[in-house]
């Protein structure tokens, strides 16, 4: 069973969102996702300042086998990207909820979208896909 931290929000496409103290959202991929992807060899990050719409691909993670889009579940602006991944894409495999974060997004405020899942619902979602 893969690790699913209780304090994050999850998408059905295996991203996680963390609400940071400064009000921005940190986005990454889950332990389950990194296992399914295999070893990452390249992460294509967006420019800071990029405007996003919910459901839009904002990062491309490339494993030894394939390129996969990572989708933002929220509208907003990219305010930070994890530059360390340029030289160390393996951080996503080794620490997907920590060193392997991808981007930080500033939203215009308000509620998170209702289709996000908590840890329990996400665990059930993984189960239903297997």
């Amino acid at each position: 069973m893969s690790e699913i931290p209780g304090d994050l929000h999850y998408t059905d496409t295996h991203e996680w969102l963390r609400q940071l103290d400064d009000g921005t959202l940190e986005l990454g991929v889950t332990e389950h996702a990194q296992q399914a992807l295999g070893d990452l060899v390249f992460v294509e990050l967006p420019e800071e300042g990029t405007e996003l719409s919910a459901g839009e691909g904002c990062v491309v993670v490339e494993s030894t086998k394939a390129a996969s889009d990572v989708y933002s579940p929220v509208d907003g602006e990219i305010v930070a990207v994890n530059e360390a991944l340029v030289d160390h894409p393996e951080n996503v495999n080794e620490d997907p909820y920590g060193e392997g974060w991808l981007v930080r997004i500033r939203t215009s405020g308000g509620e998170l979208p209702p289709n996000l899942m908590d840890a329990e619902a996400y665990a059930a979602h993984i189960e239903s896909e297997s």
Binding site: G38, D39, V41, F42, E44, V60, E62, T64, K65, A66, A67, V86, E90, N93
Partner: protein, 360 residues
């Protein structure tokens, strides 16, 4: 339902990620494919290649038959144990498969064919063999393990049957030795030294465990693919198939046009290609910037468009490398369309890595 090799339960118990491949359920990796790749380049790794087809030929006219069947000439094999790499063509000169053929003694040969083409190859072989009165046997009773890497032979030698150990260590590249149903060849598909070991299926699980205990890392298809790509070795169905001929597949060197009176299948078609000149060739590409070249992406050259036949990240060269079929041209740099981005790549002659040494 996918077919399973004699080592399936061993892979499952080791926690391998098992995936469908050419009708078989095969390990993609046992954890980290990058670590597996490095194990083979730096030390020793092993691959279950029991999904490949082992076909034995017996009969007085075996040599004549193989000289008709294959584009390379088995007359080059004069001493038992010698091996020959080459292609089997259709009458139009298209590649039905690439394979290694071993000479085992008068009237006795063995060939190892790809998993994906195994059934169609054997049907074709039996059809051609009819005129020669030879016996064709598919050895489904055997397993095959490739042990590869600079320390592979030293780690595996003590585990071989006593009768074979000495002779196996003395094998020169591209030769083989056998005893009973054990067959050891100094061949491989990684660019590194090593052996491909054929053995009775029921002995495979214990032999695999013993190799593992002796420091040979289990490796899956993902590492096998990155190793062979860096080694510049073609993958059947990606870099070549029945619609491509050897001269546009970097395999002209495996076609024996001499002697001129050897009428192998595909010869007439290849003679026409040689006369007109091949319009395309298979080259190596090294991506200049960051990104990953993938199979199927378009390649733009000064002479027109080409296509990536194999692409990926080379863990040893630490950048993306590829094989691509492009129009004949002298371009030193071409452009690859990587998901809408136009990226420059240098044209090189494969391999990219050989015997642990980076060549680009």
């Amino acid at each position: 339902m996918e077919r399973k090799t004699p080592l399936y339960a061993t892979h499952e118990a080791a926690g391998a990620k098992l995936v469908p491949f050419a009708g078989w359920s095969m390990p993609l990796s046992y954890g980290s494919e990058l670590a597996e790749h490095r194990a083979v380049r730096d030390d020793a790794g092993m691959f279950d290649v029991s999904h490949m087809g082992i076909v034995d030929f017996e009969g007085e006219r075996c040599r004549d038959f193989l000289r008709r069947l294959l584009a390379n000439d088995v007359a080059r094999l004069t001493r038992p144990g010698q091996a020959l790499y080459g292609t089997m063509l259709n009458p139009e000169g298209g590649i039905k498969d690439d394979l290694i053929t071993y000479y085992r003694g008068p009237g006795r040969y063995r060939t190892v064919v790809n998993a994906g083409t195994r059934d169609s190859d054997i049907a074709w072989i039996r059809k051609v063999a009819k005129d020669y009165g030879i016996k064709v046997t598919e050895r489904t009773d055997l397993a095959m393990i490739a042990v590869q890497g600079p320390r592979a032979r030293e780690r595996a030698a003590n585990l071989l049957p006593e009768a074979l150990k000495g002779a196996a260590l003395e094998l020169k590249p591209f030769t083989a030795v056998d005893s009973g149903d054990w067959f050891i060849a100094r061949t491989g598909y990684t660019g590194e030294d090593g052996w491909e070991i054929i053995l009775p299926a029921e002995r495979a699980p214990r032999f695999w465990e013993a190799l593992n205990a002796s420091g040979v890392a289990p490796c899956g298809l993902a590492a096998r693919d990155s190793l062979r790509l860096e080694a510049g070795l073609n993958l059947y169905a990606s870099d070549m198939d029945e619609t491509t001929h050897p001269y546009e597949s970097n395999l002209g060197w495996t076609v024996a046009m001499d002697p001129a009176d050897r009428d192998f299948i595909g010869r007439t078609a290849l003679e026409r290609v040689r006369e007109a000149g091949s319009e395309r060739r298979l080259v190596g590409l090294v991506l200049e910037g960051r990104g990953i070249i993938r199979h199927g992406q378009k390649v733009r050259t000064g002479a027109g468009e080409g296509v990536v036949t194999s692409g990926g990240f080379g863990p040893s060269v630490q950048r993306s490398v590829a094989l691509a079929r492009i129009p004949q041209c002298d371009d030193e740099t071409v452009r690859v369309d990587i998901r809408g981005k136009d990226m420059p790549a240098r044209v090189v002659k494969p391999p990219f890595v050989r015997r642990g040494k980076i060549l680009i």
